[in-house]
């Protein structure tokens, strides 16, 4: 097992001192915040007592989570009907979670999954939410990530790169933004998903993204984070997409990085340790990745700008506090991870809580900070795509030998 760095954990007294102050002005926002803090604090208290008798506490319930995910990968309850147009997402969330847990999947199983994803691919390029559904950029991102997580030649071979490139062109708008699907909505997810799949499968061409960086910069709000489209409120999910996309385009200098840094560092909750998605909203474990992931780009950008003042050993957030939030507040004892205490488990939160946990554990491929048991250590991720680092390297190696398809640009 790898060498681990010593961790700095907050004691209960320090955490309790961070309680929300409503300044005698109770509003909907403050009431909700205080309720969440109460449930979170009771979890921290519980674990504080447990730690006295158990040095491995908190423990990541690896087997329980793996069992929950493996079950879901096969069969899902009727309540998942509302996700019937996101089945490649269900596959990706499951497979990526298992990869983070370093769970082995039998080759025959992999082959079955590849076969199903192939059924979701449209003859016109891109992947839909299920067999026979129209291709959708988000489902395409999920399907490509799932196939690259499997990482077999069979999986790579499913992706029709020429058609995929045509599909991306069909969604491009003159200003460089992207529709999510034919006649669908436009927001910053589009540019990110298009960039992610095109970089991963080596079909990227600068022409496809002409103007995209400028459009994305228009989504940076006065708060510093990015929003869905120009004018909207800064938001964790869209901020990840915005910064990751700018980074992939090598145009991060176009945005106000000081403002971004101030906004994103302030999203870590002072008591809970997890991240919120927007100013004055509640903590949610999924932002462990959406916000946490952006810190990796931020780190890299600051390092390029001014190496001597960057601490290479640490991200610019409290890594231990995030791990504590995920491990103590977001694990369901029967397996699966959750948004916050009291919420039901689902594959989405399982995937993004684990992805965030991995980010908080690995500052680089060398430095590892692991809260709780040593077996909590997860595989490191590649932040551009959110597949494991190894999967990303293997995928890029595979596709770099294939030529970028030449298509007639519409």
């Amino acid at each position: 097992m790898a060498e681990m760095e010593p961790v700095n954990r907050r004691n209960l007294e320090e955490i309790e001192a961070e309680r929300f102050r409503d300044e005698d002005r109770r509003t909907a926002s403050s009431i909700e915040q205080e309720e969440v803090e109460k449930t979170v604090l009771s979890r921290f208290e519980l674990f504080d007592k447990r730690a006295e008798v158990d040095i491995d506490c908190p423990l990541l319930l690896r087997q329980k989570h793996a069992a929950f995910i493996k079950g879901s990968l096969l069969h899902l309850h009727e309540s998942y009907q509302c996700l019937d147009s996101s089945r490649p997402w269900l596959v990706y969330w499951s497979l990526h979670s298992l990869a983070l847990l370093e769970e082995h999947i039998e080759p025959e199983e992999c082959s079955k999954i590849v076969g199903f994803l192939a059924k979701c691919q449209s003859p016109n390029g891109g992947f839909g939410g299920g067999p026979g559904q129209l291709p959708h950029l988000a489902c395409t991102y999920a399907a490509v990530n799932a196939l690259c997580t499997i990482g077999t030649n069979e999986a790579f071979g499913v992706i029709n790169r020429e058609k995929l490139l045509e599909f991306l062109w069909s969604l491009r708008q003159p200003d460089g933004s992207f529709f999510m699907h034919e006649n669908g909505e436009v927001d910053v997810r589009g540019a990110y998903c298009a960039l992610s799949v095109s970089k991963l499968t080596n079909i990227f061409t600068p022409e496809l993204f002409e103007g995209s960086a400028e459009w994305i910069v228009g989504c940076q709000s006065y708060e510093g984070g990015f929003s869905a489209c120009p004018g909207m409120e800064a938001h964790g999910g869209y901020s990840f997409c915005g910064l990751a996309a700018l980074f992939m385009l090598g145009k991060e200098h176009l945005c106000d990085m000081k403002a971004f840094m101030r906004w994103i560092t302030n999203r870590q909750m002072r008591l809970e340790g997890g991240f919120q998605g927007r100013t004055n909203k509640l903590v949610d474990a999924c932002y462990s990745f959406w916000q946490g992931g952006a810190f990796l780009f931020l780190h890299n950008i600051l390092f390029k700008e001014n190496k001597s003042i960057v601490n290479s050993d640490r991200w610019l957030f409290n890594q231990e506090a995030l791990q504590e939030y995920i491990l103590m507040c977001c694990q369901q004892s029967s397996g699966g991870l959750i948004d916050k205490p009291g919420k039901p488990r689902d594959l989405y939160h399982t995937c993004y809580a684990l992805s965030g946990l991995s980010i908080a554990q690995h500052t680089s491929l060398v430095k590892k900070y692991v809260v709780g048991s040593k077996i909590n250590l997860l595989a490191p991720i590649h932040p551009m795509f959110n597949i494991t680092f190894d999967s990303a390297v293997k995928t890029m190696k595979y596709f770099e030998n294939l030529p970028v398809p030449q298509i007639g640009i519409p």
Partner: protein, 328 residues
């Protein structure tokens, strides 16, 4: 919005498509998951059947009243199915259907599923087709009354306001929301959106907004939304500098003087010190030494969760000081 009792009657009266005489001519098409399905959802019989018929229609390309009904049933069971909504729009446009009815219909669906991308997008397309935004403000009012931070509702509202130039009453709406909950960041964001698209941040507007925001900060000091908005205003001053606004410098110093150690105040003080230094102005109150001290206070006491960030800012300040010394 349907309540549970009407849902029940719906269940009782439900007739499967295979038993509907006017659907007899259609042969349902089962989903092709291949030989080894994964993430297989345990569809209800009703769900499975409706989508089998929908697949048959997609294949035949039929566009008729009965298909509208079918897409309605399909969308109710999975409002996130964008293929269903897209096809429904093709049918609506083919049949030249009454779009006001469609607007009412999608309104009910949004009320049931207010956090779904597809239903909001459908509404937007219908409003575009109608070229009539007259119901949109009231509609988003209702949705925002239930959840004043619903991102989709705000996005729709901004689109309507900008497309149809309905800015007139918007600031009043924002003011009301901020009176109800001064911590509502979506409302602060809308305030910025309205101003930037109407009066713009002219010197006069800046003065008013600074006073308004300072007032809101004095009411609730630890309200990050107001502090962020304050910084948003500053970007629009002639120089874009914090330190060119006497008002802000005085506001910060007065607040600090009352013993306030709110992290957003301290962060702004650090920025003031750094900015003055960069501008080459030496200031006794806002000095770099003070900035370093405040960073320490933040890292160790007032904003401990962001210790790494404050240590980084300290290093940035120290480096700037070192450069200046070396240059001299």
């Amino acid at each position: 919005m349907t309540d549970s009792s009407s849902d029940c009657t719906y269940e009782e009266e439900y007739v499967f498509y295979k038993n509907r005489p006017h659907w007899k001519d259609v042969t349902p098409v089962p989903q092709d998951d291949g030989p080894n399905p994964v993430v297989a959802i345990a569809y209800t019989e009703q769900f499975r059947e409706i989508y089998d018929y929908f697949r048959a229609i997609l294949r035949s390309g039929e566009k008729s009243e009965r298909v509208l009904e079918l897409t309605n049933d399909a969308a109710q069971l999975n409002p996130a199915n964008y293929t269903v909504w897209q096809y429904r729009r093709e049918v609506l446009s083919h049949l030249k259907s009454n779009l006001s009815d469609e607007l009412n219909y999608i309104g009910e669906t949004i009320s049931e599923h207010p956090k779904n991308y597809q239903v909001w997008h459908h509404r937007r397309v219908i409003v575009e087709w109608l070229k009539d935004p007259s119901k949109e403000m009231e509609f988003t009012n209702v949705i925002l009354a239930q959840d004043s931070k619903n991102y989709h509702a705000w996005q729709h509202r901004q689109w309507v306001v900008a497309t149809f130039k309905l800015y007139d009453l918007e600031l009043e709406f924002v003011n009301d929301l901020l009176l109800k909950d001064v911590r509502n960041n979506s409302a602060w964001n809308q305030r910025y959106f309205v101003i930037i698209h109407t009066s713009g941040f002219t010197p006069n507007v800046i003065k008013n907004e600074l006073e308004y925001t300072a007032g809101k900060i004095r009411e609730v000091v630890n309200n990050e939304s107001a502090w962020n908005y304050l910084r948003g205003i500053i970007c629009h001053t002639e120089s874009g500098n914090i330190t060119s606004e006497e008002f802000i410098m005085k506001f910060c110093e007065d607040l600090y003087g009352t013993g306030c150690r709110c992290p957003y105040l301290l962060a702004l003080i650090v920025d003031i010190c750094e900015e003055l230094f960069e501008l080459g102005a030496s200031d006794e109150i806002f000095s770099m030494q003070r900035a370093l001290q405040v960073c320490d206070d933040l890292a160790l006491e007032h904003d401990k969760i962001r210790k790494e960030y404050w240590k980084f800012i300290s290093r940035r300040i120290n480096q700037a000081l070192l450069h200046r010394t070396t240059a001299a």
